[in-house]
Structure formats: structure tokens, C-alpha cells
């Protein structure tokens, strides 16, 4: 649906996006992650045609966005980061205005249906400037959706909303997934696991990871850098001796029960096989040994720091 090939964007001598290759399939929700200044917004702005790329090619549904910019723009709904709106218009007026600019045929029914979808029907006669932030965000999403675009580009759609509104907006985005291709950029990492099919992590203008949420987490699930928990019973002295021998930094969590639980703080190497062997040699009863379930935060931070070290 959307294809970026070796896309470069330079602002003077500063390279915001560097040889980015990205392919987004139809009906997919892609989460774009990255620290500040990673080039997320720049990438989105190039796709929406706000400014052209310095080099490389961007295609939307097989059409080059520079050569067929009007056709491509008709397929896109865009919500910029700051959610700019005309504050001196009523909600239905504003949506009608956007609908006419996007050259929709049946304006009135389009406005009504998009207000229904985004839960704005009650606010239709209110001035945009008098709405709360959550409702303004809905107006922003409504204006992006009004032409029923094949591609929806949302730059930090849930920023500044309260938890209830965040969940509502997320559900809204999820509900578009069948008919629309969606790109969301965000700082909020749990959001990605809830809404997105695939995750692209960017840093300093480069794509450093692109995969499903599960496999990104899966790749990271090793014995290294994450806490390891061991449940066991037996002689405390023997256990202490084994662990101290291995020079492991550990602590007891539930020491008063028959089964102890030990937390091993972020071992530097993979220690689990060796630990199992030594403990069973000492006739300690081992019930369970498991690594902490990694969060996307860990993946993100490790990828970004790794890339920066290189």
C-alpha cells in the first residue's frame, strides 16, 4: 500500500531521515516508534505530501507521490502532531469545510457518519475552540477520516488525553483496521502492543527494527539483561554456596515458606543451564526457573542504545 525506497530528507546539512526503506501492507496498523528527533514526524510529513523527500521514492498504491500528488492526497487522512484546528468554527461546519476541500460528493451524510463514528454528534453545534482536548482530538481524527481514506496517518493521536479517552481513541483506531491502512507514531510504548500489528523503531533517521510486537519481544527474551526468578526448596546453605560460587547477585523474595523464591538481578551472561545443573547436583529441589517477561521498553531502549554505541 505504501512503499518507501531509500528515502532521504535533509534540512540544510542536517539529515532527518536517512535511506529509509519501509513497506506497509494494506489493512495493517503500523506503529512508528522512536526517541525525539528520530524522524517519525518527518517521515509522516513526506508521506502526506507536506514536503517532498530529498532523494528516494515514495509510492502510495503504486503511484509516485510527487508525480501524482493529487491522486495520492485523496487517499490520505492525516492528523498532525499538534492537532491544528480552526477554533472559530463549529464542529459540523469545520467538518463540512474539510469535506468540501477533500472533494467529497455527499457532504452532509459524510459529516453525519463521521461524527457518529467519532462520537461527536452531541457536540455538532459547539465551537471547536470551546471543546475539551479529548473532543478536539476526536475532531482531528474526524477530519482525517471524513473522506474515508485508504490510508490514515496519525501523529501521536493519544498525547495529552486522560486514560479513559486514550482507551476510547485506541478502540476507535482499532475499529478502522479492517478498511484502512494506519500509521501511528507514538512515545507511549504500551499503546503499540494494544493497537499495532507491526512495529517500526526509528532512531536518528534510520529504521532499526521492523517486526510484529510478539517477535520483537521474543527476540529479546534471552537470559541476559533481564531478572531471572528461581523457585526451589532445600538446604539454604547449599543454595547460597552455589549462587555465591557463580558470583551471582541475588536476593530472597519469599524466604519464610518451604519453597523459596530467589530473584537474580540482571545477570550479564546466560546462566540458566549452568545454574540448573549445579543446583540439581546439590540435590536442591528446583520447581521453576524463568526470565522476567520483557517489555517493549526494554527492547526499545536496548535497540536505541545499541545503535547509538555503534
Amino acid at each position: 500500500m505504501i512503499e518507501l525506497r531509500k528515502v532521504v530528507k535533509k534540512f540544510g546539512s542536517f539529515t532527518a531521515v536517512n535511506e529509509l526503506d519501509l513497506k506497509i501492507n494494506k489493512g495493517e496498523i503500523l506503529g512508528l516508534l522512536g526517541p525525539n528527533g528520530a524522524g517519525k514526524t518527518t517521515t509522516m510529513r513526506m508521506i502526506t505530501g507536506f514536503f517532498p523527500q530529498t532523494a528516494g521514492e515514495i509510492e502510495i498504491a503504486g503511484q509516485n507521490i510527487i508525480e501524482n500528488s493529487m491522486e495520492c492526497k485523496k487517499k490520505i487522512g492525516y492528523l498532525p502532531e499538534s492537532n491544528p484546528l480552526y477554533l472559530d468554527m463549529k464542529v459540523n461546519e469545520y467538518l463540512g469545510y474539510v469535506g468540501r476541500l477533500k472533494k467529497i460528493k455527499n457532504i452532509k451524510s459524510a459529516v453525519d457518519s463521521v461524527m457518529e463514528k467519532t462520537g461527536l454528534t452531541e457536540m455538532r453545534k459547539r465551537m471547536v475552540g470551546n471543546l475539551s482536548k479529548g473532543y478536539r482530538q476526536r475532531v482531528g481524527i474526524a477530519q482525517a477520516l471524513i473522506n474515508e481514506p485508504e490510508i490514515l496517518i496519525l501523529d501521536e493521536p493519544t498525547v495529552g488525553l486522560d486514560p479513559k479517552q486514550i482507551i476510547e481513541i485506541r478502540n476507535l483506531i482499532r475499529s478502522f483496521a479492517q478498511n484502512h491502512t494506519v500509521i501511528i507514531s507514538t512515545h507511549i510504548l504500551p499503546e503499540v502492543s494494544v493497537t499495532c500489528d507491526r512495529v517500526a523503531i526509528m532512531n536518528r533517521g534510520k529504521l532499526i527494527a521492523l517486526d510484529t510486537y510478539e517477535s520483537l519481544i521474543g527476540k529479546y527474551k534471552t537470559g541476559k539483561d533481564l531478572d531471572v526468578f528461581v523457585e526451589l526448596s532445600g538446604d539454604r546453605k547449599k543454595i547460597d554456596a552455589v549462587l555465591n560460587n557463580m558470583k551471582i547477585n541475588f536476593e530472597y523474595l519469599d524466604e519464610h515458606k518451604e519453597i523459596f523464591k530467589i530473584k537474580i538481578n540482571k545477570p550479564e551472561n546466560e546462566i540458566r543451564p549452568e545454574l540448573v545443573k549445579k543446583l540439581t547436583d546439590e540435590n536442591v529441589k528446583l520447581y521453576e526457573i524463568y526470565g522476567e517477561n520483557p517489555q517493549l521498553e526494554n527492547v526499545f531502549i536496548s535497540l536505541v542504545t545499541k545503535e547509538e554505541e555503534e
Partner: protein, 238 residues
């Protein structure tokens, strides 16, 4: 065509949503009324309507920059321009739409001065040549000033900067005429033909000169094209 209509109507509407529009119209109408009574009552000559039109044209230098200052500056500041450019419309649609919106507003502002024409009709035998010529000139001149105003507004995010730079440009254009006498005949003649005031003078005395119309219209087209270029250049560099 439809897009142009949509944009210009939205512009016109949003003028009337801000208190500024009413302040501008009040000040303009009050001052125009003051000039009219001052000039016509003192001279007791209906043909002095041309002096009145001339004075109003000076007033436009003050008023037009305030009308046009928010057109692009506010969109630049609020970021709505980014959204506008993601819609399937060309830059010139936006520029021309805003131009038409501001022009329509200016027409509404000038409209009450037609009452003075009825006064003249009631108490004298006015020369309709002067009146038609004068209003044609006034409309062309205000469109010309608006094109400068839009250009100034497209350069900045600040409405104040837009208003002041437009005011500066218009004032300089007005002052060009004063140099004509001081410079030699050749340069003076060139300056005279590019002076808006010189061309406007003929309209105000009731002469509708095609040279004047062509000159002012080409200045308008030039300034609007420049504005389109500024917008596109900003996008390509930003």
C-alpha cells in the same frame, strides 16, 4: 472552482467571527464619514467627490494591512497550514481563495459609503463619471493592496510583523510619487508610470484608463504569484 468558493466563503465568514472585523469597519466608516462631511460641506461642490475618493484610498493603506495580516500568518502559527497542504488542493487555490475572501470583506467595508452618493443625488446633480471611475479605482486599488498584504502575511508567523511589513510596502509605493519631481525627467517618468497613485488619480477624476486597469491587475497577479511561490518555497526548504 468549487474549492475556490469553499475557501473564500470560509475566509469571509471567519472575518465576521473576530471582533477585529467590526472594529475595522467602524473605524473606516467613521473616518470616511468625517472626510465626506469635511470635504463636501466645506467646498459645497459635488465634483469634489474625487477628493473624497482620494482620501479614502489613503485610508486603505492603513486598513488593508490589518485585514490581511492574519490570512497566512495565523495558519502558519497554528499549524493548520500543514493540514491544508495535506488535502488534495493546489497552493494557488489557497492563495486565490484567501484573496477573494479578503476582497469580498473589503467590498462589504466600502459598501456604506454608497450612502454618500445618495446624499449627493438628493442635494445636487452629481457627475456619475467621477463616481463610477472613483469606485472602479478604489476597488482595483484595494485588491492590489490585498495582494501585498497576503504576500506579507505568507512570509511570517506573526500577525503584527505581517501588518507592519505590508504597511511599510504600501507606504513606500505611495511615496514613490514624491520622488518623481526630485529626480530627473527620465527616471521620473519611469517612476511615474509604476506609481499606483498616478494611475489611481485618473480613476478618481472619472477617467477609466485601460493602461491603469492593466497595470494594477498585473501588479495583483504578480503579487499573488509571488505569494504562491513563497508558500511552495517554504514547503520545499522547511
Amino acid at each position: 472552482m468549487n474549492t475556490l468558493y469553499t475557501i473564500s466563503m470560509k475566509e469571509l465568514k471567519s472575518y465576521f467571527f473576530s471582533p477585529l472585523a467590526y472594529v475595522i469597519m467602524t473605524v473606516f466608516t467613521l473616518l470616511a464619514g468625517y472626510f465626506f462631511t469635511g470635504i463636501i460641506f466645506q467646498t459645497r461642490n459635488a465634483n469634489e467627490f474625487s477628493s473624497f475618493i482620494n482620501t479614502v484610498s489613503g485610508l486603505l493603506i492603513l486598513v488593508i494591512p490589518i485585514i490581511t495580516m492574519r490570512s497566512f500568518a495565523e495558519e502558519n502559527r497554528a499549524g493548520t497550514f500543514e493540514l491544508l497542504l495535506s488535502y488534495p488542493l493546489a497552493s494557488w487555490h489557497v492563495v486565490l481563495g484567501k484573496f477573494i475572501g479578503a476582497t469580498l470583506f473589503t467590498f462589504v467595508m466600502i459598501l456604506p459609503t454608497f450612502i454618500y452618493v445618495t446624499f449627493l443625488e438628493m442635494y445636487s446633480v452629481p457627475d456619475y463619471g467621477i463616481i463610477t471611475g472613483g469606485y472602479t479605482g478604489l476597488i482595483l486599488l484595494s485588491m492590489c493592496y490585498i495582494s501585498f498584504g497576503l504576500f506579507a502575511s505568507s512570509l511570517t508567523k506573526s500577525q503584527v510583523v505581517a501588518a507592519i511589513s505590508c504597511f511599510g510596502m504600501l507606504l513606500m509605493l505611495w511615496a514613490v510619487d514624491m520622488l518623481v519631481e526630485q529626480l530627473g525627467y527620465n527616471i521620473g517618468a519611469v517612476l511615474r508610470t509604476i506609481s499606483l497613485r498616478f494611475h489611481f488619480y485618473f480613476f478618481s477624476i472619472g477617467v477609466i484608463d485601460s493602461r491603469g486597469i492593466v497595470f494594477i491587475l498585473s501588479v495583483i497577479v504578480f503579487m499573488l504569484l509571488l505569494t504562491v511561490k513563497i508558500i511552495e518555497d517554504k514547503r520545499f526548504r522547511s
